[in-house]
């Protein structure tokens, strides 16, 4: 670090849930993402700093952290957009167990994905043909709106209902269930509604919209969940959810 370099202060969460913030001075760069800041600290200031990333371009959803109080993908967050009063505070995602420093254990997130039946179930259509699905059809359009989730956990971390009751399936899993339910090729669409309308499913959402507000790829889980609420209610009234 040369003396002319401009630096800024970065407070980084260290340890597990009971950890604390540790300050670092990091040199400013013209092009610098939050992930680069964390990398700089690991490479030059404290080799033991733990964090997670993989793709570095916003497709794997591994690098999400809490930056100045908001969950974000860090590889696509330019420092200049988030730095406040010359300072950054970086912590692990909330609502997930902390492994160490900036790394969380995403297991509950994926378990809920599974529990929400966020998964295709093969129908009995011919296996050697590809089902025609018109791109303009209502279902396909709805599925397309919700499908490009990178399972980063940002929405899950932003949702206060998840913080308030840890059995809530959460926005990402439900968003996936909605895309799956709109897939006309699926062999058990009612099964999805059964999975999401148990006590901890879609009806638990209070429409905070923090999920949609923070989703880095601009998905709208609020809309998806509202759709599931309606669809499962309808199915329930028709007695299909037994």
């Amino acid at each position: 670090m040369t003396s002319q370099e401009r630096t800024f202060q970065v407070d980084i969460w260290r340890g597990d849930e009971n950890g604390e913030y540790q300050p670092f001075e990091v040199p400013e760069r013209e092009n610098q993402t939050v992930l680069d800041v964390v990398t700089y600290i690991q490479r030059h200031l404290d080799p033991a700093l733990a964090y997670r990333f993989a793709c570095r371009v916003g497709v794997c959803g591994s690098c999400a952290m809490t930056v100045n109080g908001r969950p974000r993908w860090t590889c696509r967050t330019h420092v200049s957009r988030v730095v406040k009063n010359g300072k950054l505070t970086i912590a692990p995602l909330t609502n997930l167990p902390v492994i160490r420093d900036l790394v969380t254990d995403m297991t509950p997130f994926f378990e809920k994905w599974r529990d929400a039946r966020g998964r295709f179930v093969a129908g009995d259509g011919p296996k050697n043909e590809l089902a025609p699905v018109e791109p303009e059809s209502n279902e396909r359009a709805a599925a397309s709106e919700a499908i490009e989730c990178i399972n980063c956990g940002v929405c899950y971390s932003a949702c206060d209902v998840v913080s308030w009751r840890d059995d809530y399936l959460g926005p990402a899993a439900l968003n996936r269930a909605w895309a799956a339910w709109n897939d006309v090729r699926d062999g058990d669409r009612t099964g999805i509604l059964k999975a999401v309308s148990q006590g901890t499913g879609c009806h638990t959402c209070h429409t905070h919209q923090s999920c949609a507000e923070h989703c880095p790829v601009a998905l709208n889980p609020t809309f998806s969940i509202a759709g599931l609420k309606r669809a499962s209610l309808k199915a329930k009234l028709k007695g299909q959810l037994r």
Binding site: W13, E17, N18, G19, E20, Y21, T66, N68, G69, R70, P71, A91, P92, T94, V98, S157, A158, D160, H206, T207, H208, Q209, S210, A212, E213, H214, N220, T222, F223, A226, G227, K229, R230
Partner: protein, 117 residues
């Protein structure tokens, strides 16, 4: 130390504020409701009821009542908005809708005060 305190920055957006106000107003209404029923129940004894109504005409009580009316109006408007989100899938431009709900709630409260005094 905790990773994020009560004032999580992630909450600073209209959707969460609206939900919070909706909950607090609902809570206030739910607490007020049994009291309201008890007060009306006093009509079993005309004198007690007149006394209570007269008591309620004090300025401070009137202001509290205005707050309750506001809470009802805000909860009502916010509730309608929620129903629109859930049943009509209306998730766009919620910031403006939410501001409208607060304005409605505030407006009804002010109207109440203007007429009460």
């Amino acid at each position: 130390m905790s990773i994020s305190g009560l004032t999580r920055a992630s909450r600073a957006h209209p959707g969460f504020v609206a939900a919070l106000i909706h909950r607090l107003s609902g809570l206030a209404l739910a607490i007020f409701l049994p009291l309201h029923f008890l007060m009306l129940g006093l009509a079993l004894d005309e004198a007690a009821f007149s006394g209570a109504v007269a008591w309620s005409n004090q300025p401070l009580v009137k202001i509290s009542e205005a707050l309750m009316v506001s809470a009802l109006a805000v909860h009502f408007a916010g509730g309608l908005r929620l129903l629109a989100v859930e049943f009509l899938g209306l998730t766009r431009a919620q910031g403006a809708w939410i501001a409208g709900c607060f304005a409605f709630g505030g407006g009804v409260g002010i109207l109440f005060l203007m007429r009460a005094f």
